[in-house]
């Protein structure tokens, strides 16, 4: 346990890192699932099955990253889990109901026809929308320090709408990889329009974060931090430009570069995440509770770390296997 110095320091840090990684993977992976759900009403009826089969084999495992993230918060930072989730009680419940509806709609819509199937399509969209709005709102309120003043709620609503655009965007980018012909053309169009919602969201969060508290302001705008941090916004701008350019040139012959918007967006999410992580460290509840105060006992963390170190690479390996087995353009899914 004393491998890297004081276990009461490095273990909470390691778990904060693992939790952050899980949240990031969740946002990218379930982000595209939920995004496809958000785009569903825009597609023609015969395209809907194809869109859903583009995420069908993956969504279960993707959603599991949320369970891991919340699970790590629960087991490694039990105090923070209570504080955060009681503060976000209603949006958390809304998200869960949304995820329930979205998740079961996958199964029910495949086993019904006609009017009932349309109902489940609506449930799929409605569930995706509720879950995305709730997640965006929670992100906004969390950034504002879990306060519930009108200004915080307004900011939460803004981030909620922007996250709808962002998930719709990454969902469209996923569809560009997984579909062809007219549906792919549609996906490209959807991506082009949603790019600007994503940019507004990123800008809003970047501009708002430093002004939430003097501590955050100093973290970003004192010297030399401002120089060292400059690559973050610059690289983000570059990535947005690359993704935008790619979207202007798609579709291409032989489908070359069709992966660029998706990978570029994932990289953007990563940069935004690094920015947020930098802002909040060492707090797990902004300006209230640090990861060190909120952490479980080092012995318990160590037991879990052993498991995590063995298991996480395995999980990554078979996640990759699942994506390899279902690589290429989506075809209609059957149980045969």
């Amino acid at each position: 346990m004393h491998l890297f110095g004081d276990p009461a320091v490095w273990l909470p840090l390691a778990f904060a890192g693992l939790m952050g990684l899980s949240i990031l993977i969740y946002v990218v992976l379930d982000g595209f699932d939920l995004g496809v759900g958000l785009l569903l009403p825009l597609a023609a009826d015969e395209e809907k099955d194809r869109m859903i089969s583009a995420v069908g084999p993956f969504w279960d495992a993707n959603e599991t990253w949320l369970v891991l993230a919340v699970g790590l918060l629960l087991v490694a930072f039990p105090m923070a889990h209570g504080v955060i989730l009681t503060a976000l009680y209603l949006p958390a419940a809304l998200m869960l109901i949304g995820l329930i509806l979205r998740g079961v709609a996958f199964e029910f819509r495949a086993k019904t026809e006609g009017k009932m199937k349309q109902r489940w399509n609506q449930a799929f969209f409605g569930g995706s929308l509720a879950a995305t709005l709730a997640q965006g709102y929670m992100l906004g309120v969390y950034i504002m320090g879990l306060k519930q003043q009108p200004i915080d709620i307004a900011f939460g609503l803004l981030t909620a709408v922007c996250l709808v655009a962002a998930y719709g965007f990454i969902g469209a980018n996923w569809l560009i990889i997984k579909t062809e012909d007219t549906l792919q053309l549609k996906a490209i169009r959807w991506a082009r329009t949603r790019l600007w919602g994503l940019v507004v969201g990123f800008a809003a969060i970047s501009l708002a974060t430093p002004f939430v508290s003097p501590r955050l302001f100093d973290k970003w705008f004192s010297f030399p931090e401002i120089i060292l941090l400059a690559p973050l916004p610059l690289m983000s701008a570059l990535l947005i430009f690359i993704v935008w350019t790619a979207l202007q040139h798609l579709p291409t012959r032989n489908d070359r570069w069709s992966w660029v918007p998706f990978v570029g967006t994932a990289a953007l999410f990563l940069l935004a995440f690094i920015g947020l992580a930098y802002s909040f460290y060492p707090y797990v509840v902004p300006d209230q509770l640090t990861i060190y105060d909120a952490a479980s006992a080092p012995e318990s963390l160590f037991i879990m770390l052993i498991g995590a170190v063995i298991v996480l690479p395995t999980i990554l390996a078979y996640t990759v296997l699942a994506y390899v087995v279902f690589r290429g353009k989506a075809t209609d899914l059957t149980y045969d």
Partner: protein, 457 residues
């Protein structure tokens, strides 16, 4: 209503809805593996047809289990922050191992199991089926370890008011764990047997004479007939274990007020906690002593021992335990009668054809009987833990969050509405799938009959 009771009802509602689906998937995964292996061994397409039909129900149940399970991981924080603050050092690693080892395993290989039969080689599809079944059972194991630890905690010490783990082996193999794990795995097996037998009986009743349905009906009936006596035996052992470690729970299950020998087995009564007695009691003399001590003069604990001198009640609520335990046992007895009756008829007469329509209807009526028994059993053991959340360590009332009860009530109503819709949809869709499958099967069958020589039966 106060926040504590509302939070308890909400947690109860969420976990009751959730447990319905793992109860099916835990055992159905292994049954699917059995179908797949039978197909590998015999090459008989009917086994694969059985696989394809039941994998759809597995997928549906699994989806419902996943999404309702996610709710659970949030509930700890939203409604019971005191739980993890007090016992997080023990509960945390157990939950972490559940997610890490089991949840991902099932979720990742589910895609291959459901949709991969044509995309991957047969052995990989068989392996994926095995891993999903294994992951589901492993997941149940971790959760039941934690639940058992909450019932009969061991291997810990309390420092500065917080529980710290001292011996992980003692925590894992806490006194009630082996019994609870066995009891729940068997409950899952029985739930699935009756589900398979019930749906197959339904398909026969609507005129499906295919061999696939014959095979699954037989599988379901035999599985139930074999598992139910084992379950009765394990249940008895579990009861004796509870008598040793949580006597107050047994006293409430039996609605027995006074400690003493020659305690009757009460078949029916209205327990009255205020008066500390039963009304309208009908009992079998010495029955409870015989069951619990295997001796008519055996001493059975009474509820009055668990009332503190100052009048504080330290035993669980009596009536809910008394009745839910009797519902569980009653359904168990019905399962024994129906499954043995059906198995006897299949063996004595001309196989599945020998089952008369009333027996088939009985099986259809029992389709979801496993759910009722499982829920009643869980209510018995969980309400039986009250007033403790972790026996002797953490009282339920000390763990609840101070979220306004209006919020708890509104989310509770929203959950209940969603669950009612989903449960209706689930049951409707299963029967619809059965009808649809039988119609296709008939078409294939009548088409194939011209070229295929049907062996005489």
């Amino acid at each position: 209503m106060d926040g504590l009771l509302l939070s308890r009802i909400q947690f109860g509602a969420n976990i009751s809805f959730h447990i319905l689906f793992p109860t099916i998937t835990i055992a159905l995964g292994w049954v699917l593996l059995f179908f797949r292996l039978r197909f590998n061994a015999t090459g008989d397409d009917r086994w694969m047809a059985a696989y394809h039909f039941w994998v759809k129900i597995f997928a549906l149940s699994f989806g419902l289990g996943v999404v309702s399970g996610i709710t659970m991981s949030f509930q700890f924080g939203t409604n019971w922050p005191g739980f993890m603050e007090k016992v997080g050092n023990v509960a945390g690693p157990l939950l972490a191992y559940e997610v890490l080892t089991a949840f991902f395993l099932e979720a990742a290989f589910l895609g291959i199991m459901l949709f991969g039969a044509k995309r991957v080689p047969g052995w990989l599809h068989t392996l994926a089926t095995f891993l999903v079944a294994f992951g589901t059972a492993l997941s149940a194991f971790w959760i039941l370890v934690l639940n058992s630890w909450m019932q009969t905690p061991a291997g810990y010490e309390i420092r500065d008011g917080v529980v710290h783990a001292t011996d992980w082996l003692e925590i894992l193999f806490n006194p009630s764990m082996p019994y609870r794990v066995m009891h729940m795995l068997l409950a899952s097996g029985l739930t699935v047997s009756f589900l398979i037998a019930g749906i197959s009986a339904y398909r026969r009743l609507i005129g499906d004479r295919s061999k696939g349905v014959r095979l699954t009906l037989q599988t379901g009936v035999y599985m139930a007939a074999v598992l139910i006596p084992v379950q009765i035996f394990v249940g008895d052992a579990h009861g004796l274990n509870t008598l040793e470690h949580q006597p107050q729970k047994i006293a409430a299950m039996e609605a027995n007020w006074n400690t003493g020998p020659n305690t009757p087995l009460i078949l029916f009564a209205i327990p009255d906690e205020k008066a500390q007695e039963n009304h309208f009691e009908i009992g079998i003399p010495d029955g409870a002593s015989l069951i619990l001590r295997h001796d008519p003069n055996g001493v059975v604990p009474g509820l009055k021992d668990f009332i503190a001198p100052d009048g504080t009640v330290e035993h669980p609520p009596v009536a809910p335990l008394f009745f839910s335990f009797r519902i569980m046992v009653g359904v168990g007895v019905l399962m024994l009668l129906v499954s043995w009756g059906a198995a006897y008829a299949i063996r004595r007469k001309r196989g599945v054809d020998g089952l008369n329509p009333w027996l088939l209807r009985g099986l259809v009526a029992m389709t979801f009987s496993g759910w009722i028994a499982t829920l009643a059993g869980w209510y018995t053991t969980e309400i039986g833990r009250q007033p403790w959340l972790v026996t002797g360590v953490l009282a339920t009332r000390d763990a609840v969050s101070d979220v306004p009860s209006g919020m708890v009530l509104s989310t509770l109503l929203a959950y209940l509405a969603v669950y009612a819709v989903l449960l209706t949809a689930y049951i409707t869709v299963i029967f619809r799938l059965a009808r649809k499958s039988s119609q296709t099967e008939e078409r294939v069958h009548s088409g194939a009959a011209q070229i295929e020589v049907i062996p005489a039966e």
